[in-house]
Structure formats: C-alpha cells, structure tokens
C-alpha cells in the first residue's frame, strides 16, 4: 500500500512538472533596493527603486518580454495600431479586478491616460507619448475595448505601454490598488517594503493555477554592496541585480552556480570631444576635435580589449557603436568594434598634419598634443578606463590629463559652460527603440553631447543623421526604420562623435533557492518573470 502511495505521489509530481512542484512554494522573496523609492505613484516613477515597485505591482496593457524582446499581451489580450501610427486600439480582458477587489474596465485605462498626459503631473513616463502639441483622445468602445488617439504618429507605440501601469478610477485606495502580481502591504520608510501576492492577479500558469507562485516580496533598502553580497552568500536575500565585475567574481569564486553573466547589456561607456563652437577652448584644439581623422585616430589608439579584460575583469565587450549587440533587432550587425591599431592612428593623424617630435605628437602649427578628459569622481571603473586611455595615448605621443570631478561640477561643464575638452561617461539604456535616442542624435537636442542645441546642423553628417532619425520616426514600416537607423549607426561609426568604448555585461547573482530565474540583459534582469519565480520548499517553509 505504501509503495502504491509513493508511486502515485511520484507520478503526480512528474505530471505537474517543475512549475507544478514550485507552484506550491509560497514563501517570501527577499532582495535589496539601493535606495528608497522616491514615489509609489507608478506614473511618476523615474528612479530605479520606484521603477522596481512599478514593475512588481503595475498591471500593464502589454508587456515587453525581456527574454525575446517581443511585445506580449498583458491586460489587453490584443491591440491594433492604425491611422498612420496615431491610434492604438486595445481589446481588454474581461472580468479583471484590482488588488482591492474594484472591478477593472476601459474607463480605468482612459483615466490612466488622462492622468499620464496631464501636463501638471510632469510624468516622466508620459513624456515618451508627447510626440507633438495637442491632446490625446481616449474613446471607450463597446465590448471592453478602448481607442487612444495621439496628435501625431509615434513609432513603436505599443512598446511604450510596457511602462504604463493602469490605475483605478474608482478605487478609494487610488494608486495603491493595482493589477500587477503584487501589491504594497507595508512601507517602512528607509528600511524596507513588503509586497503581498495580489489575489486578483489575472494570469494563470499552463495548469490553471494562479500566479505568482511566491506569496510575498520583501525589499530591503541597502546601499552597501558588501553587505548585500554578504547577505546573498548567507542566504538572507535571493538575488542581486546589476552586479559590478568585482563582486560578480567574488560570488563566482564562492559558488559559480550563483553567478550569471547574461552577456553585453544595453549600457555603454563612451568618450567624446567638446565640439561646441562657442566653448572657451583655444581655436587649434577646436580644430583637432572637429577633425574626423583626429577622433578616429584616438579611437584606434585605445585598446578596448584590454579595457574589457582588465577594468571589467572580462565581463564587458568592446563597443561597436550607438547600439549594443544586446539590442537584437536594432543593432547593425555589419559593424565591428574599431580595432586597436596605433600605426593606423598615426597614419590618420599625419593626414591632418600631425607629426612626432621627440616622442611627442605636434600639430601642423607646432602645438604639442595634450588634452584633458573629465569623468565623475568616485566611479572607479571610469577612472581606471581613463588611466588606461592615458597610457594608450602616450603610445602615440599624446599627453592626456585625467580629471575627476564631482558630478554637479561635471554636469555644469558639459551642459552649461562647455569648459572641457573631452568627457568620459556612460549611457544607461533601457529602451530598445531608436526613438529613445532621438534626444542624443538630433543636432538640435540638448543631449547631443558633443555639440548640443544647434540651430542648424554644424556638419553635413549631422544633417544626414537628423534627416534619417526623423525619417525613421515618421514611418511605421519596420524595415524602413531599420534601414534608416542602420545608416545612422554607420555614420556614427564612421565619424565617431562618441568614441564608444565597451558594453558592460549584465551581471547578476541568484541564490540556488530561487527557481525558474533566467537573468536577461534587459532590466529588471533577474525578476523580469516575477510571476513565474518560486522558492524551494525548504526556504519557503522556513520563511
């Protein structure tokens, strides 16, 4: 009888599969936030911590699958873009309820859009939808459908809704009533937040069991990386996102199964020269920095492979250009990272009249080539990169002075006074669509760092980039957009206004107690499939 019972249990467990086993896990997931969320209003989320809360609690119409990078249904079961990219119509799921039991309807989507586009709210999420002046019209249609019309076409419109957590128009709890997998249960300012499983969450697993599997999530506010790492190795927390290379190696040395390197992320580290015509630099330096040959020579004189190997302990790749290979669709695969070739660099410089004299590079007017690069103090990776560039450039007779500045001073110099020569910073990129880079590539944009806010493009290639970026934003034809943005990448690769250095890898550490975690390069890396995660029964029981 006992053997039969054991056999039955075994068969049942096999039939349920791993998810079935884990569906019963319950328990509490623990991880750390680096800072306290600045807001719990999902429409105002702009910092990492607030975005984490939004991701865990917010129900969205569509969700970008962080693994495949495709858009998948969320609260909306289907959607259609029409009217040349101005209109999107969502078919909403029936019978949904917010975490407090308030019924969900198309009116809630209309209410959320109204809030999102309210200029008085200054929603950072709403900014992405502001393609031009004019009002956004929402129309509630029969059969639980809603149509949203924007004043101008928005390329990649459906993807933008991944960031819009739908709020209830009727719930007395306001933004605390959510449609996502968890809702906020407790918020101890400066200490921790506890999220509880949303009993009304709409999604179920293939076996029909309600998701998420884990009962609650505790987020401890912890700035210190050492303590966070220690807590992971002690089993007090279950994962760490966005690890630095040093901590990653430390964890990998202790338990290789915990360390996950998902490959190059979307983030890049880059250097650029100040090309602002009105900057207080001497004319001969302006002439150097405006020269494509000079910028290409500097790029070729930098050993990116060494940088990735030494500074990032091998957890980075030499950067190719504006788009990381992690961006599967938009990356221009024809391009390669600029090779380390100091002979070629000297050849390019000689074409511009530079020559070596007693081991020091001089320009055609006899000025010794010396410039400074500024970076933010306290970022040891950037300081190390700058020091490596310093040695690399000394190989072609250039003296580089590395200057670390506190961040406000650095921003003051690169955005207001333009009193700098070169700058080394990183670009944190969350968006896959090139439209997110409009503010960088348009010559009129403020974030066009090497020469911002131009009235007319200073160079022919910047005019060409302007044209291509506007063209790709004005069409919904994906192939055409891809062709245009590929050309933008080619021009940027050729002219190198930004000298892209490396793409850091997306590093994370996951406790063996956490199941079904498949860290990816897109944020939020480890918990992108939060509703599918589960804890081992031992851990769940102990908690």
């Amino acid at each position: 009888m006992k053997k039969r019972l054991a056999g039955f249990i075994l068969l049942t467990l096999v039939a349920l599969g791993p998810n079935g086993l884990l569906a019963q896990s319950g328990g509490e997931l623990h991880f750390c936030l680096r800072s306290e969320p600045k807001t719990l209003n999902p429409l105002l989320a702009a910092d990492d911590a607030s975005e984490t809360i939004r991701y865990l609690t917010g129900g969205v119409l569509v969700r970008v699958n962080r693994l495949t990078q495709d858009v998948e249904p969320g609260i909306a079961s289907s959607w259609k873009i029409s009217n040349g990219g101005k209109t999107i119509t969502f078919d909403l799921r029936d019978g949904l309820r917010f975490s407090d039991g308030t019924p969900f309807s198309a009116d809630d989507v209309a209410f959320t859009m109204q809030q999102l586009m309210d200029p008085a709210l200054h929603s950072p999420t709403g900014d992405a939808f502001r393609s031009s002046d004019g009002k956004v019209a929402t129309e509630v249609l029969p059969k639980n459908r809603i149509r949203i019309t924007f004043p101008a076409p928005i390329a990649g419109l459906d993807r933008l809704f991944d960031q819009v957590a739908i709020m209830s128009s009727k719930s007395p709890q306001k933004e605390m009533a959510v449609l996502g997998p968890y809702y906020i249960w407790e918020n101890k300012a400066g200490a921790y937040l506890t999220l509880k499983r949303n009993p009304n969450y709409w999604e179920k697993d293939p076996a029909g069991r309600p998701l998420p599997y884990i009962d609650s999530v505790r987020l401890d506010i912890q700035q210190n990386r050492d303590i966070e790492t220690l807590r992971l190795t002690r089993g007090e927390i279950h994962f760490i996102n966005s690890l630095d290379a040093e901590y990653f190696d430390k964890i990998a040395a202790q338990d290789p199964s915990m360390a996950h390197d998902a490959g190059p992320s979307l983030d890049s580290e880059e250097m650029w020269f100040n090309q602002v015509a009105s900057s207080p630099l001497p004319p001969y330096k302006k002439q150097w920095f405006a020269s494509t040959n000079f910028r290409r020579a500097i790029s070729e004189a930098i050993n990116r492979e060494d940088m990735a190997r030494i500074v990032f302990h091998g957890h980075a790749r030499p950067a190719v250009g504006a788009v990381s290979p992690a961006n599967k669709f938009w990356f221009n695969a024809k391009l390669q990272a600029h090779p380390f070739d100091q002979k070629s660099a000297l050849q390019r410089l000689s074409e511009d009249g530079f020559h070596m004299q007693d081991g020091v590079l001089h320009d055609h007017e006899g000025h010794a080539v010396e410039f400074s690069v500024i970076t933010n103090a306290g970022n040891k990776y950037r300081e190390r990169m700058a020091t490596m560039i310093q040695q690399d450039l000394s190989g072609i007779g250039i003296k580089l002075n590395v200057v670390t500045l506190d961040f406000p001073s650095l921003i003051e110099r690169i955005t207001r006074t333009y009193d700098y020569e070169a700058c080394l910073l990183g670009l944190v990129n969350d968006e896959l669509d090139p439209n997110a880079q409009m503010t960088i590539w348009l010559s009129s944009a403020e974030s066009h760092q090497w020469n911002p806010s131009q009235k007319t493009p200073a160079t022919a290639w910047e005019a060409e980039i302007d044209k291509l970026m506007r063209a790709q934003a004005a069409t919904l034809e994906l192939k055409k957009r891809k062709e245009d943005f590929d050309k933008v990448q080619e021009i940027a690769w050729q002219e190198e206004p930004f000298i892209y250095l490396v793409n850091k890898n997306a590093l994370s550490a996951v406790s063996p107690a956490l199941h079904n975690a498949h860290p990816v390069v897109l944020r939020p890396q480890v918990y992108w499939n939060i509703d599918q995660l589960s804890l081992t029964s031992e851990v769940a029981g102990n908690r």
Binding site: R225, D226, T229, L230, E246, Y247, K250, D306, I310, V311, E370, F371, S372, I374, A377, G378, N379, K380, E383, R384, A386, T387, M388, Q390, Q391, K399, N401, V402, V403, T404, L405, D406, S409, D419, Y420, E421
Partner: protein
C-alpha cells in the same frame, strides 16, 4: 617614553629616505601598466604584487609615500605660517582688530572643509599635469587649514601681549615690529611647532579622504589617498592581504608623527 620618540623619529627618517630614493629603489615606474598581470600576487618582480591595472604596487607605495609625506609637511608649514600671521597679529593688536579677525576666523572654521575643497578643485583649470595637481591640492589644504591653529596662537599672543616682559620691553622703548619679532614670535615657537606637527597627519588624512572620493591627486601619480582607495570594499581584500601594506604604513607614519609631537608639546 624617550625611546619611543627615538624609534618614531628613526622610522620617519627611514621612510623619508626610502621614498626620496624611490627613483633608485622602485623596480618599475609607478605609471607603467603590466597589462598581462593585473592584481598579481607578490613575486620577485613585484614585491607587493600589482594593482587593478597591473602597476607595481611597491613602486607606487614608494612614490605615493613621497608625495604625501613631503607635501603634507609643506602644507602644514604654509598653514602654520598663515595661522602665526593671522593669530599673532590679532592677539598682539587686541581690541577691535582681535575681535574682527577672530570673527572672520570663526566664520572660516564654520565652512564645511570638504565641500569647500571639492568646490575649489572643481574651479581649477583642467589641463594641469598630475604634479601640478598634487601641488595645488596640498596648497589648498594649507590655505584652508590655518583657522583652527590661528585661534590657539591668537590666545597665546594675547596672553603674551599682556605679560610683564612685553610691558618691560615697551617701557624700554621697543616699537611694534621689534616687540613682535624679537619678543613675541620666539615665545610663540613652541605652540607653532605643536600646530605644525598636528597639521601634518591631519593633511595626510584629508588628502587620503579626498583620494578616496576620487578628488585627490590626479592619475597616474600615486598618493596615500589613491593607494587607500584600493581598500574600498572589504570583501575584495580577503584574498589579497598585501593590499593592506599602504594602510599599515599610513597608520605607522601618522602614529609616529603623534609620538614626535609629544616631545614638542612639552613646555620649553
């Protein structure tokens, strides 16, 4: 206690001589990156291993000690002279001069040093060599570090100005400058020495603090501040205990300065 001072002085002399002879002792340039050997363990080629960028740590400790140990006393001398000038004049003159100068000193003392240093540094020209940057850093420390010492010197000068021997000197016809130079300054020397020796480790620590914030001496020139930055994150140290050498040297040198100071504090 005498032997401890002798040992302290001997140790400081040894360290000073070693760092002055860094050009001859150091096996490699402090800036050279052995890129095939980053974070190497101690070996015959690299006595203290290499740092993150493959630079010989022993060479960097020697040169870094030279930078911090020579320039900190220079900054201390500058701040002591400023303190002597401001505090001496205020204390000797007395009255409204004393009150005005000390009010300004109090105001100066209330300024947040670190933020002031960061601000001043951010305003400096960018294209300066590492040597110049280190000189500027320590000059700033010297220029900003006089106020505390000035208050002490002012109090002493005030007491001396009312003492019998100054009264006697006045009665015998000594004028202001002669009184200041021949009678007041020699009597202020012990307190000036004390302030000087106190300032040296303070400036070393301040530079180290700036270095830890990444705002100290510019790369690739080493200093104790930049060497101590390697110790950020205690978890990275467990496998590389030789990284603690700069810290141990730093603690020993600062302790030795305090042992030397004890002698100078004694009344003459």
């Amino acid at each position: 206690m005498k032997w401890t001072r002798i040992v302290a002085i001997a140790f400081l002399l040894f360290v000073c001589v070693a760092c002055l002879l860094a050009n001859f002792i150091a096996p490699a340039s402090y800036a050279r990156q052995f890129r095939d050997e980053p974070n190497a363990s101690p070996s015959r080629q690299h006595l203290l291993g290499t740092d993150d960028l493959g630079r010989d740590r022993f060479s960097r400790v020697l040169y870094g000690t030279r930078v911090s140990l020579l320039l900190a006393p220079a900054a201390a001398l500058l701040s002591s002279l400023l303190a002597a000038f401001v505090g001496g004049i205020a204390g000797f003159a007395g009255g409204w001069v004393d009150r005005c100068v000390m009010a300004a000193t109090d105001l100066f003392l209330s300024l947040p040093w670190l933020f002031l240093l960061i601000t001043v540094r951010a305003l400096l020209p960018l294209n300066v060599s590492p040597i110049i940057s280190v000189l500027i850093t320590f000059a700033m420390l010297g220029c900003l570090g006089w106020a505390g010492a000035a208050r002490i010197i002012c109090a002493d000068a005030r007491a001396f100005a009312q003492s019998d021997f100054i009264l006697l000197a006045r009665a015998s016809g000594s004028d202001g400058f002669r009184l200041l130079w021949r009678h007041l300054v020699p009597n202020l020397k012990p307190v000036l020495y004390a302030q000087f020796w106190i300032s040296v480790p303070v400036f070393i620590l301040t530079e180290a603090n700036l270095g830890i914030l990444g705002l100290g001496v510019a790369e690739p020139l080493p200093s104790w501040g930049s060497l101590l930055r390697e110790l950020e994150g205690f978890s990275t140290l467990s496998g590389q205990r030789w990284q603690l050498v700069p810290l141990i040297l730093f603690i020993l040198v600062v302790s030795c300065f305090h042992l030397v100071l004890t002698k100078e504090e004694l009344p003459v």
